[in-house]
């Protein structure tokens, strides 16, 4: 299986590197504003924005192709070397500028319109957003359908981009794709803005009122963040399309959020996850589908959409973080819960054994002095697991007549029973509970009383020796 994987991967060429780099740059550029949106709980706004800029982009495309037609924007001239690269650069810059302008205009229009609907029509926020962005998206699709032949826009590309094709759209006669310049530039701008306005963004995100009181303008920062997000979405648009860009905005940020609680670490990890997810996505796109489909009797399948696979890979990173995150991961939570459960089961076994030995020692017949932990068959599998670990650690001796506590086992059990009986005494002193009810709470609390609390309770109750049921409160040997 691995040999097949590497065989399929060996078709990797220079162009594959550029595809991966383009995707990674787009995703990294999106990760920065995406993190801020996530922390501000405005991820939905990024979603809406990426839909709403569509008519602006289509109109800008139309405008650019119209300007090329009438000669305002010349197609790249023939020439050589640096001159052609420079010309290519300026062409990219002009075209991208037109797109930014169109997208920014429709983004601002959408924001204003949803604000107007929300305020004048007193419509709930998400519904207002829904009305505006679906309408504008419909308008964009309609425009594409109407002018598809003139704008060179394929409706499919609008949704999920065409990463493979953008890598071939090179700058002059270099091998660098134009999209690398555009998305790399966007990444630089975003990183610079984040560094410059880190303090403002942080404060206005976590405490807008304090930010306002300190003379910052949270609403202005919010508008600026929206504009930068819109620009980033447009830059990534050609490569990953309107819908998958949502994944680039949200998933790296969400993954980083699960991995860390520190803002700067989250921002940094978001970029890393974006890069890893994108490269992994392209690797998966050219290997996995063929490997799976050839086994299903569909050998024609060579590869799959890289942009789509990038979201799947990013989602894989996210799922890994959900399970394995050191602080918030499910695996850790499960492990902690399992460890606690095991500790409680072990302590309950020790306590039970101690009580039986105690009861047996008060009996006159020496034959009964040997206590057992009970029929091992009647224990649940978890209890059996606890018993095994107790035997392994030498706290329990499993003799032929049944289990018995060793010396260290007795000490541990005495400690536990001491907690139990001290708590019962404490409850009996301070709460008017019937004796029968004392046991239940003590059964729970006994596992969580440390030596300090034991000492405090004992001191408050004047070092009792008997619990309310008339049983001796044991004192472990080392504390005598």
């Amino acid at each position: 299986m691995f040999t097949e994987f590497f065989k399929r991967l060996s078709v990797w060429e220079g162009i594959d590197t550029w595809i991966a780099v383009t995707g990674a740059l787009a995703a990294m550029a999106c990760a920065l504003p995406g993190t801020w949106l996530l922390l501000r709980r405005q991820s939905l706004l990024g979603d809406a924005l990426s839909h709403a800029v569509l008519p602006g982009i289509v109109l800008a495309y139309l405008g650019v192709s119209w300007m090329e037609e009438i000669g305002w924007l010349a197609a790249p001239a023939t020439g050589s070397g640096a001159a052609r690269v420079a010309e290519g650069m300026s062409l990219v810059a002009r075209r991208q500028l037109a797109l930014f302008a169109g997208a920014a205009l429709s983004g601002v229009f959408a924001a204003v319109l949803s604000e107007v609907i929300q305020r004048w029509g007193r419509v709930e926020r998400s519904a207002a957003l829904g009305v505006v962005f679906t309408s504008m998206f419909a308008l964009g699709l309609l425009l594409i359908r109407l002018f598809a032949d003139r704008a060179h826009l394929d409706p499919g590309c609008v949704l999920y981009g065409n990463l493979e094709a953008t890598a071939f759209n090179r700058l002059g006669d270099t091998t660098i794709p134009q999209a690398v310049i555009v998305n790399g530039g966007m990444l630089l701008v975003n990183a610079l803005l984040t560094l410059l306005f880190f303090k403002e963004l942080r404060l206005s995100t976590f405490d807008p009122d304090l930010a306002a009181a300190q003379g910052m303008r949270p609403s202005l920062i919010s508008v600026a963040l929206m504009s930068v997000t819109a620009a980033t979405v447009v830059a990534a648009f050609e490569s990953v399309g309107a819908i998958l860009v949502i994944a680039m905005l949200i998933i790296p940020a969400a993954t980083a959020r699960l991995l860390s609680d520190r803002l700067s670490t989250i921002l940094f990890l978001g970029i890393v996850v974006a890069a890893v997810g994108s490269v992994l996505g392209h690797v998966m796109a050219i290997t996995l589908p063929a490997m799976i489909c050839s086994r299903l009797g569909m050998p024609q399948v060579e590869d799959a959409s890289t942009a789509g696979m990038m979201t799947v890979a990013a989602c894989g990173c996210f799922l890994l973080a959900v399970f394995l995150s050191p602080r918030h991961g499910m695996a850790r939570a499960w492990y902690e819960r399992w460890r606690l459960k095991l500790r409680i089961v072990r302590e309950d076994l020790l306590g039970g054994l101690f009580r039986r030995e105690e009861a047996a020692s008060s009996q006159p017949h020496a034959a009964n002095r040997q206590a057992t932990v009970g029929d091992p068959v009647r224990l649940s599998w978890f209890q059996r697991l606890g018993r095994q670990s107790l035997i392994r650690q030498g706290l329990i001796d499993s003799g032929s007549h049944g289990d018995s506590l060793t010396e260290s086992g007795t000490a541990a059990a005495q400690d536990l029973v001491r907690s139990h009986r001290l708590w019962e005494s404490y409850m009996a002193r301070h709460f008017a509970l019937p004796d029968a009810r004392l046991h239940d709470t003590a059964e729970k609390v006994e596992h969580f009383l440390g030596p300090e609390l034991q000492a405090e309770i004992a001191a408050e109750l004047d070092q009792p020796t008997m619990d309310p049921h008339g049983k001796v409160i044991p004192t472990p040997p080392e504390r005598l």
Partner: protein
């Protein structure tokens, strides 16, 4: 296109147009009805996630069908089943993600929407490279192809929408309470979890039946726009639901007819834009919250407040003038007021006072004599007395019961005097129990007592 063709389309002479119209209108009605619940539950955008998450379901269904028996992949029923499974599992995963607690609802929905759609794109690109599989049949689910609806499709849509409408109708009370106050519903012992699941199922069902006609990208519009538009016409939930259904099918009908007349226009997008137009009209003209209506009623109350202020100003000026002589019991026609006197009474600009005066003159509460001075009519005097009385009653109330400083009561009374209903005035009188109050004269202004 020839006019006769347009006529043919608009009079529904084509069997095909009738079929398509029927299917999309049924979907529009269902979308409006279910969307009305989601609007109140503030979860309008859930269906957006449901629709995007359907794509991998469609792709997988196709691939499985092709793997089992090549050539059967485009069976619409199975693709719809796949779509429904995809949507449902997407919403389920969104719920799971929210249980991490660090990822909030909006981010969870965004993640599911984009990841499922991305996975769907991967599957579509795989399908495309199969020899049998130009993805044409599948991309129709993305963009919608209303014109290609067949009678069989419409039968499926019809059955599904009857079931959806029945469910909404039979469980209307339960679903409404869930939307308005789910905690209360839970306290009543209702199975809110199951009701929520039912509502989500309804959303998935509507989303799926809408996909063949408007496409999965724009399905959400039919669940969001009609109910939001209907909100401008009514405050009653039952009426809202019905209006939303009607508006939904209306926008579908308009969209289908327009795109039938102009075939270059994609039906799905036109349906949504027809809905947007209806929304904008509703927002302008709606009788409950419409902008025009609000503006008119605000203007009316502004006018009324101006009149009451004017009359009270007249009364107070006259009261000052005539306090030493006969009092105000005589004929108001003998008590002239100048423009300057009135303007000094309140902080009116000359233009505002002039417009208020002209309204008052046309209402018949004030007359302007030949000497350019103003006189209250007897009806005007009655109204002025009442306005002043309301104002002073409220001032007295504020001083005696609300412990407000006398110097501040005038401003506060100014705000409330216009909305004092007669019953409230009676209650105030009882409360204040002052002899002076029982006469038809207004009580003396507390400010006068102070000075």
């Amino acid at each position: 296109m020839l006019n006769s063709d347009i006529f043919r389309v608009l009079t529904l002479q084509d069997y095909n147009t009738r079929v398509v119209l029927c299917g999309t209108m049924l979907f529009g009605a269902c979308g409006g009805i279910v969307g009305a619940f989601m609007l109140l539950r503030k979860k309008s955008l859930v269906s957006d996630v449901a629709s995007h998450a359907a794509l991998p379901g469609i792709g997988l269904a196709y691939l499985i069908l092709e793997a089992l028996s090549p050539g059967t992949g485009k069976s619409p029923v199975w693709l719809l089943v796949g779509a429904a499974i995809g949507s449902a599992s997407g919403l389920f995963c969104a719920g799971l993600i929210q249980r991490t607690r660090l990822i909030k609802e909006d981010a969870a929905l965004g993640i599911i929407l984009s990841v499922f759609f991305g996975f769907g794109i991967v599957l579509l690109s795989v399908v495309q490279s199969l020899p049998t599989g130009s993805a044409a049949g599948l991309t129709e689910f993305i963009f919608g192809k209303a014109a290609a609806l067949t009678a069989a499709d419409v039968t499926t849509i019809g059955v599904a929408s009857v079931i959806i409408m029945l469910a909404c109708g039979l469980l209307f009370k339960e679903l409404s309470l869930l939307c308005f106050d789910d905690a209360y519903a839970a306290a009543l012992g209702w199975p809110t979890w199951w009701l929520d699941l039912l509502l989500t199922t309804l959303v998935v069902a509507v989303t799926v039946i809408g996909m063949p006609s408007v496409g999965l990208l724009l399905v959400v519009a039919q669940l969001v726009i009609p109910p939001t538009a209907a909100r401008f016409w009514t405050d009653r939930h039952s009426v809202l639901t019905i209006i939303a259904g009607v508006l939904g099918s209306l926008s579908s009908a308009v969209g289908i007819l327009v795109s039938a007349v102009i075939p270059r226009l994609a039906a799905g997008a036109v349906i949504v834009l027809a809905g947007t137009t209806i929304f904008l009209i509703s927002m302008l003209l709606g009788t409950r919250r419409g902008i025009l209506w609000n503006w008119l009623s605000q203007r009316e109350s502004h006018r009324r407040i101006g009149q009451l202020d004017l009359l009270r100003a007249c009364f107070e000026v006259l009261e000052r003038e005539h306090s030493s002589t006969s009092g105000l019991e005589g004929d108001p026609g003998t008590m002239p007021l100048t423009f300057e006197q009135l303007q000094a009474a309140r902080s009116w600009t000359a233009a505002r006072l002039r417009s208020i005066l002209s309204v008052a003159t046309s209402d018949g509460s004030i007359r302007q004599g030949a000497d350019a001075q103003y006189r209250l009519t007897s009806e005007g005097m009655r109204l002025a007395r009442r306005a002043t009385r309301n104002h002073r009653l409220w001032e007295m109330y504020l001083i005696h019961f609300a412990q407000t400083a006398p110097s501040r009561v005038d401003r506060e009374a100014d705000e409330i005097e216009h909305v004092l209903a007669p019953e409230l005035v009676e209650q105030l009188e009882e409360l204040l129990e002052q002899d002076r109050v029982r006469t038809r004269l207004p009580p003396v202004s507390p400010h006068a007592q102070l000075t």
